[in-house]
Protein backbone atom coordinates (compact mmCIF):
# COMPACT_ATOMS: atom_id res chain seq x y z
CA UNK A 1 0.00 0.00 0.00
CA UNK A 2 2.72 2.42 1.05
CA UNK A 3 4.90 1.30 -1.85
CA UNK A 4 2.04 1.97 -4.24
CA UNK A 5 1.58 5.46 -2.90
CA UNK A 6 5.26 6.20 -3.12
CA UNK A 7 5.57 4.98 -6.68
CA UNK A 8 2.54 7.06 -7.60
CA UNK A 9 4.19 10.16 -6.14
CA UNK A 10 7.38 9.35 -8.00
CA UNK A 11 5.55 8.84 -11.31
CA UNK A 12 3.64 12.07 -10.89
CA UNK A 13 6.83 14.01 -10.18
CA UNK A 14 8.56 12.59 -13.24
CA UNK A 15 5.51 13.30 -15.40
CA UNK A 16 5.32 16.89 -14.17
CA UNK A 17 9.02 17.39 -14.77
CA UNK A 18 8.94 16.04 -18.32
CA UNK A 19 5.80 17.97 -19.26
CA UNK A 20 7.67 21.20 -18.56
CA UNK A 21 10.75 20.50 -20.64
CA UNK A 22 11.94 24.09 -20.70
CA UNK A 23 12.08 24.18 -16.91
CA UNK A 24 13.99 20.94 -17.03
CA UNK A 25 16.61 22.45 -19.32
CA UNK A 26 17.07 25.73 -17.50
CA UNK A 27 19.27 24.46 -14.63
CA UNK A 28 21.61 22.76 -17.11
CA UNK A 29 21.90 25.90 -19.20
CA UNK A 30 22.51 27.93 -16.06
CA UNK A 31 25.17 25.42 -15.02
CA UNK A 32 27.00 25.56 -18.35
CA UNK A 33 26.79 29.35 -18.43
CA UNK A 34 28.25 29.73 -14.93
CA UNK A 35 31.13 27.47 -15.91
CA UNK A 36 31.67 29.44 -19.11
CA UNK A 37 31.89 32.65 -17.10
CA UNK A 38 34.94 31.50 -15.17
CA UNK A 39 37.43 31.36 -18.07
CA UNK A 40 36.16 34.80 -19.10
CA UNK A 41 36.51 36.15 -15.60
CA UNK A 42 39.84 34.76 -14.46
CA UNK A 43 41.56 34.39 -17.83
CA UNK A 44 41.78 31.44 -20.21
CA UNK A 45 45.17 30.04 -19.08
CA UNK A 46 44.84 26.22 -19.39
CA UNK A 47 46.87 25.52 -16.24
CA UNK A 48 44.88 27.92 -14.10
CA UNK A 49 41.62 26.47 -15.39
CA UNK A 50 42.81 22.94 -14.72
CA UNK A 51 43.70 23.91 -11.15
CA UNK A 52 40.35 25.54 -10.52
CA UNK A 53 38.27 23.15 -12.58
CA UNK A 54 36.94 20.82 -9.90
CA UNK A 55 36.04 23.65 -7.54
CA UNK A 56 34.33 25.62 -10.28
CA UNK A 57 32.26 22.64 -11.41
CA UNK A 58 31.25 21.84 -7.84
CA UNK A 59 30.27 25.41 -7.06
CA UNK A 60 28.23 25.59 -10.26
CA UNK A 61 26.56 22.31 -9.30
CA UNK A 62 25.68 23.72 -5.87
CA UNK A 63 24.16 26.83 -7.41
CA UNK A 64 22.15 25.04 -10.06
CA UNK A 65 20.91 22.53 -7.46
CA UNK A 66 19.71 25.46 -5.35
CA UNK A 67 17.72 26.78 -8.31
CA UNK A 68 15.76 23.56 -8.62
CA UNK A 69 15.48 22.95 -4.89
CA UNK A 70 13.13 25.82 -4.34
CA UNK A 71 10.41 23.97 -6.24
CA UNK A 72 10.83 20.76 -4.23
CA UNK A 73 7.81 21.08 -1.93
CA UNK A 74 6.40 24.41 -3.09
CA UNK A 75 3.69 23.17 -5.47
CA UNK A 76 2.56 20.43 -3.10
CA UNK A 77 2.40 22.97 -0.30
CA UNK A 78 0.49 25.49 -2.38
CA UNK A 79 -2.19 23.15 -3.73
CA UNK A 80 -2.73 21.36 -0.43
CA UNK A 81 -1.56 17.92 -1.46
CA UNK A 82 1.15 18.11 1.17
CA UNK A 83 -1.55 18.38 3.81
CA UNK A 84 -3.32 15.35 2.34
CA UNK A 85 -0.02 13.52 2.40
CA UNK A 86 0.32 14.20 6.12
CA UNK A 87 -3.15 12.83 6.76
CA UNK A 88 -2.50 9.63 4.83
CA UNK A 89 -0.93 6.56 6.44
CA UNK A 90 2.19 6.88 4.31
CA UNK A 91 5.14 8.06 6.47
CA UNK A 92 6.03 11.63 5.69
CA UNK A 93 9.76 10.87 5.79
CA UNK A 94 9.43 8.37 2.93
CA UNK A 95 7.42 10.90 0.97
CA UNK A 96 10.24 13.41 1.54
CA UNK A 97 12.83 10.86 0.45
CA UNK A 98 10.99 10.18 -2.80
CA UNK A 99 10.68 13.89 -3.51
CA UNK A 100 14.40 14.37 -2.88
CA UNK A 101 15.24 11.45 -5.11
CA UNK A 102 13.19 12.85 -7.97
CA UNK A 103 14.83 16.24 -7.48
CA UNK A 104 18.20 14.56 -7.76
CA UNK A 105 17.17 12.75 -10.92
CA UNK A 106 15.69 15.83 -12.56
CA UNK A 107 18.13 18.58 -11.69
CA UNK A 108 21.46 16.95 -10.83
CA UNK A 109 21.81 13.89 -13.05
CA UNK A 110 21.72 16.09 -16.19
CA UNK A 111 24.79 17.81 -14.80
CA UNK A 112 26.55 14.46 -14.78
CA UNK A 113 25.50 13.98 -18.38
CA UNK A 114 27.00 17.24 -19.58
CA UNK A 115 30.13 16.89 -17.45
CA UNK A 116 32.39 15.56 -20.26
CA UNK A 117 31.81 18.82 -22.09
CA UNK A 118 32.90 20.76 -19.02
CA UNK A 119 36.00 18.65 -18.60
CA UNK A 120 36.99 19.85 -22.05
CA UNK A 121 36.07 23.45 -21.23
CA UNK A 122 38.22 23.47 -18.12
CA UNK A 123 41.06 21.38 -19.47
CA UNK A 124 40.73 18.54 -16.93
CA UNK A 125 42.90 15.44 -17.28
CA UNK A 126 41.29 12.02 -17.66
CA UNK A 127 42.17 11.07 -14.06
CA UNK A 128 40.64 14.27 -12.74
CA UNK A 129 37.56 13.77 -14.84
CA UNK A 130 36.84 10.31 -13.46
CA UNK A 131 37.48 11.45 -9.92
CA UNK A 132 35.09 14.34 -10.54
CA UNK A 133 32.38 12.03 -11.84
CA UNK A 134 32.81 9.79 -8.80
CA UNK A 135 32.56 12.70 -6.37
CA UNK A 136 29.50 13.99 -8.21
CA UNK A 137 27.89 10.56 -8.07
CA UNK A 138 28.52 10.10 -4.35
CA UNK A 139 28.25 13.72 -3.28
CA UNK A 140 25.43 15.20 -5.29
CA UNK A 141 22.60 13.22 -3.61
CA UNK A 142 23.69 15.07 -0.46
CA UNK A 143 22.66 18.31 -2.11
CA UNK A 144 19.10 17.04 -2.47
CA UNK A 145 19.03 15.47 0.99
CA UNK A 146 20.37 18.41 2.99
CA UNK A 147 18.65 20.84 0.66
CA UNK A 148 15.33 19.14 1.38
CA UNK A 149 15.57 20.11 5.07
CA UNK A 150 16.14 23.75 4.16
CA UNK A 151 13.30 23.76 1.65
CA UNK A 152 10.94 22.15 4.15
CA UNK A 153 11.80 24.87 6.67
CA UNK A 154 11.22 27.75 4.26
CA UNK A 155 8.33 26.38 2.20
CA UNK A 156 5.70 28.36 4.07
CA UNK A 157 7.50 31.66 3.60
CA UNK A 158 6.67 34.02 0.78
CA UNK A 159 10.23 35.30 0.43
CA UNK A 160 12.03 32.03 0.91
CA UNK A 161 14.42 32.10 -2.07
CA UNK A 162 17.42 34.05 -0.82
CA UNK A 163 16.93 32.79 2.71
CA UNK A 164 17.16 29.22 1.45
CA UNK A 165 20.60 29.81 -0.06
CA UNK A 166 21.68 31.57 3.11
CA UNK A 167 20.69 28.56 5.22
CA UNK A 168 22.04 25.90 2.91
CA UNK A 169 25.37 27.13 1.58
CA UNK A 170 27.20 26.92 4.96
CA UNK A 171 25.95 23.34 5.33
CA UNK A 172 27.41 22.40 1.94
CA UNK A 173 30.96 23.40 2.93
CA UNK A 174 32.24 19.93 3.94
CA UNK A 175 30.86 18.45 0.75
CA UNK A 176 32.71 21.02 -1.35
CA UNK A 177 35.96 20.55 0.55
CA UNK A 178 36.01 16.75 0.41
CA UNK A 179 34.92 16.61 -3.22
CA UNK A 180 37.54 19.03 -4.46
CA UNK A 181 40.18 17.38 -2.25
CA UNK A 182 39.39 14.04 -3.93
CA UNK A 183 39.82 15.56 -7.39
CA UNK A 184 43.02 17.34 -6.38
CA UNK A 185 44.46 14.07 -5.09
CA UNK A 186 43.58 12.43 -8.39
CA UNK A 187 45.29 15.26 -10.26
CA UNK A 188 48.53 14.45 -8.40
CA UNK A 189 48.09 10.71 -9.06
CA UNK A 190 47.56 10.11 -5.35
CA UNK A 191 44.98 7.69 -3.94
CA UNK A 192 41.73 9.48 -3.11
CA UNK A 193 39.73 6.67 -1.56
CA UNK A 194 39.88 8.41 1.83
CA UNK A 195 38.03 11.51 0.64
CA UNK A 196 35.56 9.39 -1.31
CA UNK A 197 34.92 7.23 1.75
CA UNK A 198 34.24 10.35 3.82
CA UNK A 199 31.81 11.59 1.20
CA UNK A 200 30.07 8.22 1.23
CA UNK A 201 29.90 8.34 5.04
CA UNK A 202 28.29 11.77 4.87
CA UNK A 203 25.85 10.44 2.30
CA UNK A 204 24.82 7.53 4.52
CA UNK A 205 24.42 9.81 7.53
CA UNK A 206 22.26 12.21 5.53
CA UNK A 207 20.27 9.35 4.02
CA UNK A 208 19.36 8.19 7.51
CA UNK A 209 18.65 11.53 9.16
CA UNK A 210 17.65 14.03 6.48
CA UNK A 211 14.25 12.46 5.62
CA UNK A 212 13.27 12.49 9.30
CA UNK A 213 14.39 16.07 9.78
CA UNK A 214 12.59 17.07 6.59
CA UNK A 215 9.39 15.41 7.74
CA UNK A 216 9.54 17.27 11.05
CA UNK A 217 10.31 20.55 9.29
CA UNK A 218 7.36 20.03 6.93
CA UNK A 219 5.09 19.53 9.93
CA UNK A 220 6.39 22.76 11.48
CA UNK A 221 5.83 24.63 8.21
CA UNK A 222 2.35 23.23 7.74
CA UNK A 223 1.11 23.99 11.26
Amino acid sequence: MVMQQLSAIFKRDMLLAFRQRSELLQPILFFVLVIALFPLGVGPGPELLQKMGAGVIWIATLLSALLGLERLFRDDFADGSLEQQMLSDCPLSLYALIKMFSHWLVSIVPVLVVSPLLAVFLNLTVDMYWALVLTLLIGSPLLSLIGGIGVALTVGLRKGGVLLSLLLLPLFVPLLIFATAAVDAAALQLPNTGQLALLAALLLLALGLAPLATAYALKVSQS
Binding site: L157, L167, I177, F178, A217, V220
Partner: protein, 246 residues
Protein backbone atom coordinates in the same frame (compact mmCIF):
# COMPACT_ATOMS: atom_id res chain seq x y z
CA UNK B 1 12.33 13.35 39.18
CA UNK B 2 11.99 16.01 36.48
CA UNK B 3 8.69 17.30 37.82
CA UNK B 4 10.20 20.42 39.33
CA UNK B 5 11.11 21.48 35.78
CA UNK B 6 7.58 21.39 34.45
CA UNK B 7 6.46 24.82 35.72
CA UNK B 8 9.25 26.36 33.64
CA UNK B 9 7.34 25.57 30.47
CA UNK B 10 5.28 28.60 31.48
CA UNK B 11 6.68 31.88 30.30
CA UNK B 12 5.77 33.71 33.48
CA UNK B 13 7.86 31.33 35.60
CA UNK B 14 10.86 31.63 33.30
CA UNK B 15 10.62 35.40 33.36
CA UNK B 16 10.60 35.31 37.14
CA UNK B 17 13.54 32.90 37.24
CA UNK B 18 15.56 35.19 34.99
CA UNK B 19 14.64 38.13 37.18
CA UNK B 20 15.91 36.39 40.36
CA UNK B 21 19.07 35.00 38.75
CA UNK B 22 20.01 38.19 36.92
CA UNK B 23 21.88 40.00 39.73
CA UNK B 24 23.70 36.78 40.66
CA UNK B 25 25.16 36.64 37.18
CA UNK B 26 25.45 40.29 36.22
CA UNK B 27 27.53 41.47 39.20
CA UNK B 28 30.10 38.63 39.18
CA UNK B 29 30.29 39.05 35.40
CA UNK B 30 31.22 42.69 35.77
CA UNK B 31 33.71 41.84 38.53
CA UNK B 32 35.42 38.95 36.69
CA UNK B 33 35.52 40.73 33.38
CA UNK B 34 37.05 43.94 34.73
CA UNK B 35 39.63 42.23 36.96
CA UNK B 36 40.48 39.59 34.38
CA UNK B 37 40.88 42.05 31.55
CA UNK B 38 42.79 44.69 33.52
CA UNK B 39 45.06 41.99 34.93
CA UNK B 40 45.59 40.50 31.50
CA UNK B 41 45.94 43.69 29.50
CA UNK B 42 48.05 45.68 31.97
CA UNK B 43 49.83 43.45 34.51
CA UNK B 44 50.34 39.96 33.10
CA UNK B 45 53.77 39.35 31.53
CA UNK B 46 54.07 39.98 27.80
CA UNK B 47 54.62 37.04 25.49
CA UNK B 48 58.35 36.39 24.92
CA UNK B 49 57.85 36.05 21.18
CA UNK B 50 54.83 38.11 20.30
CA UNK B 51 55.31 40.89 22.86
CA UNK B 52 52.37 43.02 23.92
CA UNK B 53 50.34 42.10 20.84
CA UNK B 54 49.55 38.71 22.39
CA UNK B 55 47.56 40.44 25.13
CA UNK B 56 44.55 40.43 22.82
CA UNK B 57 44.24 36.75 23.65
CA UNK B 58 42.48 37.69 26.90
CA UNK B 59 39.55 38.70 24.69
CA UNK B 60 40.12 36.49 21.68
CA UNK B 61 40.48 33.10 23.39
CA UNK B 62 37.39 33.32 25.67
CA UNK B 63 35.16 34.59 22.88
CA UNK B 64 36.41 31.92 20.46
CA UNK B 65 35.90 29.09 22.97
CA UNK B 66 32.50 30.36 23.99
CA UNK B 67 31.24 30.98 20.48
CA UNK B 68 31.25 27.20 20.09
CA UNK B 69 29.81 26.46 23.54
CA UNK B 70 27.04 28.96 22.98
CA UNK B 71 26.08 27.08 19.85
CA UNK B 72 25.96 23.87 21.89
CA UNK B 73 23.71 25.58 24.43
CA UNK B 74 21.42 26.76 21.64
CA UNK B 75 21.25 23.27 20.18
CA UNK B 76 20.41 21.77 23.59
CA UNK B 77 17.61 24.29 23.96
CA UNK B 78 16.41 23.39 20.47
CA UNK B 79 16.44 19.68 21.33
CA UNK B 80 14.50 20.25 24.55
CA UNK B 81 12.00 22.33 22.64
CA UNK B 82 11.62 19.71 19.95
CA UNK B 83 11.39 16.62 22.13
CA UNK B 84 9.23 17.90 24.96
CA UNK B 85 7.52 20.65 22.98
CA UNK B 86 8.40 23.30 25.53
CA UNK B 87 7.76 26.77 24.16
CA UNK B 88 10.16 28.54 26.45
CA UNK B 89 13.01 26.37 25.16
CA UNK B 90 12.21 27.48 21.63
CA UNK B 91 12.25 31.06 22.85
CA UNK B 92 15.66 30.40 24.37
CA UNK B 93 16.95 29.34 20.94
CA UNK B 94 15.88 32.69 19.54
CA UNK B 95 17.44 34.47 22.52
CA UNK B 96 20.79 32.64 22.41
CA UNK B 97 21.42 33.03 18.66
CA UNK B 98 22.20 36.78 18.57
CA UNK B 99 24.45 36.52 21.65
CA UNK B 100 26.37 33.67 20.03
CA UNK B 101 26.64 35.57 16.77
CA UNK B 102 28.16 38.54 18.60
CA UNK B 103 30.66 36.27 20.39
CA UNK B 104 31.66 34.73 17.06
CA UNK B 105 32.05 38.18 15.55
CA UNK B 106 34.25 39.30 18.46
CA UNK B 107 36.41 36.20 18.04
CA UNK B 108 36.78 36.83 14.29
CA UNK B 109 37.49 40.53 14.69
CA UNK B 110 40.08 40.16 17.47
CA UNK B 111 41.61 37.28 15.53
CA UNK B 112 42.02 39.48 12.46
CA UNK B 113 43.54 42.25 14.57
CA UNK B 114 45.93 39.74 16.13
CA UNK B 115 46.73 38.16 12.77
CA UNK B 116 47.84 41.41 11.15
CA UNK B 117 51.04 41.92 13.22
CA UNK B 118 51.75 38.19 13.72
CA UNK B 119 51.01 36.60 10.37
CA UNK B 120 51.23 39.81 8.34
CA UNK B 121 47.69 39.51 7.08
CA UNK B 122 44.19 40.23 8.32
CA UNK B 123 42.72 37.04 6.98
CA UNK B 124 43.90 33.64 5.79
CA UNK B 125 41.75 30.73 4.69
CA UNK B 126 42.94 28.70 7.60
CA UNK B 127 40.98 25.88 9.26
CA UNK B 128 39.96 27.66 12.43
CA UNK B 129 39.21 30.97 10.79
CA UNK B 130 37.09 29.33 8.14
CA UNK B 131 35.11 27.20 10.57
CA UNK B 132 34.56 30.22 12.82
CA UNK B 133 33.30 32.20 9.81
CA UNK B 134 30.92 29.40 8.90
CA UNK B 135 29.77 29.28 12.52
CA UNK B 136 28.89 32.95 12.19
CA UNK B 137 26.90 32.20 9.04
CA UNK B 138 25.03 29.42 10.87
CA UNK B 139 24.08 31.79 13.68
CA UNK B 140 22.96 34.35 11.13
CA UNK B 141 20.98 31.67 9.31
CA UNK B 142 19.16 30.68 12.52
CA UNK B 143 18.37 34.34 13.22
CA UNK B 144 17.25 35.02 9.65
CA UNK B 145 14.98 32.00 9.62
CA UNK B 146 13.44 32.99 12.93
CA UNK B 147 12.74 36.52 11.79
CA UNK B 148 11.36 35.42 8.41
CA UNK B 149 8.27 33.90 10.04
CA UNK B 150 5.34 36.09 10.99
CA UNK B 151 4.19 33.47 13.48
CA UNK B 152 7.04 33.57 16.00
CA UNK B 153 6.17 30.24 17.58
CA UNK B 154 6.47 28.51 14.22
CA UNK B 155 9.61 30.52 13.50
CA UNK B 156 11.25 29.46 16.75
CA UNK B 157 10.53 25.80 15.99
CA UNK B 158 11.97 26.10 12.49
CA UNK B 159 15.05 27.86 13.84
CA UNK B 160 15.43 25.01 16.34
CA UNK B 161 15.44 22.43 13.55
CA UNK B 162 18.11 24.40 11.72
CA UNK B 163 20.20 24.72 14.89
CA UNK B 164 20.06 20.94 15.36
CA UNK B 165 21.01 20.23 11.74
CA UNK B 166 23.88 22.64 12.27
CA UNK B 167 25.09 20.85 15.37
CA UNK B 168 25.50 17.63 13.39
CA UNK B 169 27.28 19.58 10.71
CA UNK B 170 29.56 21.63 12.94
CA UNK B 171 32.06 18.89 13.82
CA UNK B 172 32.07 17.81 10.19
CA UNK B 173 32.83 21.34 9.05
CA UNK B 174 35.40 21.71 11.78
CA UNK B 175 37.34 18.59 10.82
CA UNK B 176 36.93 19.06 7.09
CA UNK B 177 38.55 22.47 7.18
CA UNK B 178 41.14 21.23 9.66
CA UNK B 179 42.32 18.55 7.26
CA UNK B 180 42.09 20.96 4.41
CA UNK B 181 44.46 23.68 5.54
CA UNK B 182 45.91 25.04 8.75
CA UNK B 183 48.05 27.90 10.05
CA UNK B 184 46.43 28.84 13.37
CA UNK B 185 48.38 27.70 16.42
CA UNK B 186 47.19 24.61 18.27
CA UNK B 187 45.15 24.62 21.43
CA UNK B 188 47.09 25.54 24.56
CA UNK B 189 44.25 25.71 27.07
CA UNK B 190 41.51 23.29 26.06
CA UNK B 191 43.46 20.08 25.89
CA UNK B 192 44.07 17.04 28.03
CA UNK B 193 46.93 17.23 30.51
CA UNK B 194 48.76 20.32 31.64
CA UNK B 195 47.94 23.55 29.80
CA UNK B 196 50.97 24.81 27.88
CA UNK B 197 50.73 28.36 29.16
CA UNK B 198 52.50 30.10 32.05
CA UNK B 199 50.52 30.44 35.30
CA UNK B 200 50.94 34.24 35.29
CA UNK B 201 49.09 34.33 32.01
CA UNK B 202 46.75 31.43 32.73
CA UNK B 203 45.01 32.99 35.74
CA UNK B 204 43.91 36.24 34.10
CA UNK B 205 42.86 34.21 31.06
CA UNK B 206 40.70 31.89 33.16
CA UNK B 207 39.26 34.85 35.02
CA UNK B 208 38.24 36.61 31.83
CA UNK B 209 36.91 33.32 30.47
CA UNK B 210 34.68 33.07 33.55
CA UNK B 211 33.73 36.69 33.04
CA UNK B 212 32.72 35.97 29.46
CA UNK B 213 30.65 32.95 30.55
CA UNK B 214 28.77 35.05 33.09
CA UNK B 215 28.34 37.90 30.62
CA UNK B 216 26.87 35.55 28.04
CA UNK B 217 24.50 34.12 30.64
CA UNK B 218 23.43 37.62 31.64
CA UNK B 219 22.87 38.71 28.06
CA UNK B 220 20.93 35.56 27.24
CA UNK B 221 18.66 36.07 30.24
CA UNK B 222 18.02 39.67 29.25
CA UNK B 223 17.23 38.78 25.63
CA UNK B 224 15.06 35.89 26.80
CA UNK B 225 13.10 38.26 29.03
CA UNK B 226 12.65 40.64 26.11
CA UNK B 227 11.58 37.78 23.89
CA UNK B 228 9.01 36.60 26.43
CA UNK B 229 7.60 40.11 26.89
CA UNK B 230 7.40 40.67 23.14
CA UNK B 231 5.62 37.42 22.46
CA UNK B 232 3.31 37.44 25.47
CA UNK B 233 2.15 41.04 25.22
CA UNK B 234 -1.49 39.97 25.30
CA UNK B 235 -1.17 38.08 28.60
CA UNK B 236 -2.57 39.70 31.77
CA UNK B 237 0.64 39.20 33.76
CA UNK B 238 2.71 41.08 31.18
CA UNK B 239 0.23 43.93 31.12
CA UNK B 240 0.25 44.06 34.89
CA UNK B 241 4.05 44.10 34.84
CA UNK B 242 4.13 46.95 32.35
CA UNK B 243 1.66 48.99 34.36
CA UNK B 244 3.44 48.35 37.62
CA UNK B 245 6.83 49.43 36.31
CA UNK B 246 5.88 52.51 34.32
Amino acid sequence: MWKWLHPYAKTEKVYGLCQTLLPWFALPALLCLTTGLIWGLAFAPADYQQGDAARIMYIHVPSAILSMSTYAAMAIAALVGMVWQIRTADMAVAAIAPVGAIMTFIALFTGAVWGKPMWGTWWVWDARLTSELILLFMYLGVMALYHAFDDKQQGAKAAGVLALVGVINLPIIHYSVEWWNTLHQGASLMKLGKPSIEADMLWPLLLSLLGFVLTIATLVMLTLQNEIIRRELHRPWVQKLAQGKS
